[in-house]
């Protein structure tokens, strides 16, 4: 939310690279655990960071269907990568949550601990790209945090607690992988002018001096910038703003992959298309696509007891429409064929999500394409359903522009 009392242009600040440490320190000083990109297991993951030294300086990812590798980049960019393997989702909608613990009282039971009893962690998410900002907005709606949400009257306590306590530093995207297609989904590569729900919006510029333009997008963001130590940064000049605006435009120009804009209708009109069974033959029903998807929200609830039966616990765990148990109702599973599970997933993402939430369930982040162990690609499957060979994606584009490109 923008702050009408304080024109954002007046409060934006240019930080040099060490200035980023001042920003991270200010977030920590305000009581946030800062989550940001860092290297682990030859990938860029989103985990707690202490300072700028933890960021993946000079690394970018090369992604294609079923494939992800890191490569060095010459310009030393700190945020010069595309979608990391695991979305921010794991910090707001954790993979495993103990909903409650209860003790038997003989005649019944007494709840001794429930997820709602605990203050949520206060997380600052540093470097949220536009596609992932759109995904957080989609999950806000799923979990009942927006007025138009189907569950608006009873938001999910775990998600709502974490989300309301979170501080978001969004990032104009300076690097698209060959799996990215945010442009065709209208979610990126630039952060929306209204900030898209972020508190601060950042652009990384490497051309003509490595620096960051940081502008507030909410009152909390403005306060955070005000709290930076005296003498941190300088006001941006017109050239800085122009260079910052050029960053996502260069990324847009380099993005080749497209999802057919008519995807909603293509999927809905082709539910009996023979192509589903061809995908079903290749699909492993391993569920990776749903786990990495930043909007997929499904979870299962499991109750268990200890040996004596005196203590019981209820856990919520990420689940997937690709498992057999997911569609199990009395007597058996409904979606036995893998093809029907793939169809369920893709038609929810690209078609019925519109009916349910008034928007696409896909942001174009490309994770499901890269992290499918056998490279199944929903943009290509959509093109096939429409009766086209997916020529637009045929050329494997390995990477895009360096941050702040020409």
């Amino acid at each position: 939310m923008s702050d009408p009392a304080t024109p954002q242009s007046a409060r934006a600040v240019m930080l040099d690279v060490p200035g980023l440490d001042a920003l991270i320190a200010a977030l920590a000083g305000a009581g946030f655990t800062v989550i940001g990109p860092r290297l682990r297991e030859q990938a860029i993951v989103l985990e707690p960071i202490e300072g700028r030294a933890d960021l993946p300086a000079g690394w970018r990812d090369v992604q294609s269907p079923g494939h992800y590798r890191l490569e060095e980049r010459a310009d030393g960019a700190l945020f010069g990568f595309a979608s990391p393997p695991h979305a921010w989702k794991r910090h707001l909608h954790p993979p495993e949550v103990r909903l409650m613990r209860a003790r038997s009282t003989g005649s019944g039971f007494e709840v001794t601990d429930s997820a709602g009893d605990h203050a949520p962690p206060r997380l600052a998410l540093l470097g949220v790209k536009p596609c992932d900002l759109a995904a957080i907005a989609a999950q806000d709606q799923v979990f009942g945090l927006t007025p138009d949400a189907p569950e608006a009257s009873r938001p999910d306590p775990t998600y709502a607690g974490r989300r309301r306590a979170a501080f978001i530093v969004a990032l104009d995207c300076g690097h698209a992988a060959a799996t990215c297609f945010c442009d065709s989904m209208g979610t990126g590569p630039a952060v929306p002018a209204d900030g898209g729900g972020a508190d601060l919006v950042m652009s990384e510029i490497v051309e003509g001096g490595h620096r960051f333009l940081v502008r507030p997008a909410s009152p909390a963001g403005a306060r955070l910038l005000d709290s930076l130590p005296e003498g941190t940064g300088r006001p941006p000049e017109a050239a800085d703003r122009a260079a910052a605006a050029a960053v996502p435009e260069a990324t847009r120009a380099a993005q080749r992959r497209r999802l057919d804009p008519d995807h909603r209708r293509i999927v809905a009109d082709n539910l009996d298309h023979p192509h589903w069974s061809r995908v079903g033959e290749r699909c492993l029903a391993c569920a990776n696509c749903t786990m990495v998807c930043p909007t997929c929200f499904c979870a299962t609830v499991e109750d268990s007891t200890d040996l004596t039966g005196d203590i019981a616990e209820r856990w919520r765990r990420w689940d997937s429409c690709f498992t057999m148990d997911f569609s199990y109702i009395h007597g058996g599973s409904i979606r036995i064929e893998t093809a029907s599970r793939y169809r369920q997933w893709m038609s929810h993402k690209l078609s019925s999500w519109y009916e349910q939430f008034g928007r696409s369930g896909c942001t174009g982040c490309g994770r499901c394409i890269a992290w499918c162990p056998v490279g199944i690609d929903l943009t290509e499957e959509t093109a096939r359903l429409a009766g086209r060979a997916p020529a637009q994606n045929a050329a494997k584009q390995d990477s895009a522009t360096p941050t702040g490109g020409e």
Partner: protein, 267 residues
């Protein structure tokens, strides 16, 4: 024997052809072992105590595969004595690593290994408990995961369904935040066709899954193998051997391995 013994369910643990690793998993429960001993009467568990109580048993955990005629007879007796029979581990649920002999000439093995082959009396195959008697529940793993053992016993004692996944190991990776070794490192991994439950041991060590927990529900081994021989450039032999591990005798893995490496060819 405490007076409460009469009312506690009697637990028996039987061993067939196996390495004892799964029983050790039970003993390594440590913190929970006392609680277990309180909840059940450990009536027969030679790995833990020489004191034995005669059957029938309320629940029997059976480790190991059937590799001799004597085993094949004894499992019938065990079944008759046990109200609930749970087979534990890859040996009991799929024949174990010793099921590699199912793909070969077992006489040639015996002659190569033993100085006096005539002393060895064995079946030509190593088979799962369920191939011989009805089994109430199969607990996978090489070895089993001790928390799954505890879960299945807690469920049995409390008359509830155990929470044991049949889905892929990949779900364990993703819940845990492990970076996929197939996609990010090009390391072959059986996780997409393997049942979860080990605790994500290998991928967290940046190794591919060896398939210790056997085939997941509806495993699409063919599509994974095609990707490995195609995109990943593995030889058919390497792919065939990957499926010929601790669960080589599980149908889906056996069939896939035979597509790439014929039986009677151990490479």
């Amino acid at each position: 024997m405490s007076p409460a013994d009469a009312s506690r369910p009697k637990l028996a643990v039987f061993k067939f052809s196996s390495c004892d690793g799964c029983q050790l998993g039970l003993l390594s429960l440590e913190d929970e072992l006392l609680a277990l001993a309180g909840a059940v009467e450990i009536a027969y568990f030679l790995e833990a105590t020489r004191r034995t109580v005669k059957g029938p048993y309320d629940v029997a955990l059976v480790e190991g595969s059937i590799t001799t005629a004597h085993d094949a007879k004894r499992i019938q007796t065990v079944r008759r004595q046990s109200k609930v029979l749970i087979s534990i581990g890859a040996c009991a649920t799929a024949g174990g690593i010793q099921a590699l002999k199912n793909f070969a000439d077992h006489k040639a093995f015996i002659e190569a290994v033993y100085a006096r082959p005539e002393y060895i009396e064995t079946l030509s195959t190593s088979t799962a408990i369920a191939d011989h008697v009805p089994v109430d529940f199969e607990l996978r793993g090489c070895p089993v995961n001790k928390y799954q053992v505890l879960e299945v016993l807690s469920a049995f004692l409390n008359n509830r369904k155990p929470n044991l996944p049949r889905h892929s190991e990949c779900i364990e990776c993703k819940r845990r935040g492990t970076v996929c070794v197939m996609v990010a490192h090009g390391t072959p991994c059986l996780g997409p066709v393997t049942q979860a439950g080990c605790g994500n041991l290998c991928p967290t060590q940046t190794r591919g899954c060896y398939g210790c927990f056997g085939p997941k529900e509806g495993p699409n081994t063919r599509a994974l193998a095609d990707w490995m021989t195609g995109e990943m450039g593995l030889s058919p032999r390497a792919v065939g051997q990957a499926f010929r591990g601790f669960n080589a005798g599980a149908d889906a893995f056996r069939e896939e391995s035979e597509r790439h490496v014929p039986a009677h060819d151990q490479g």
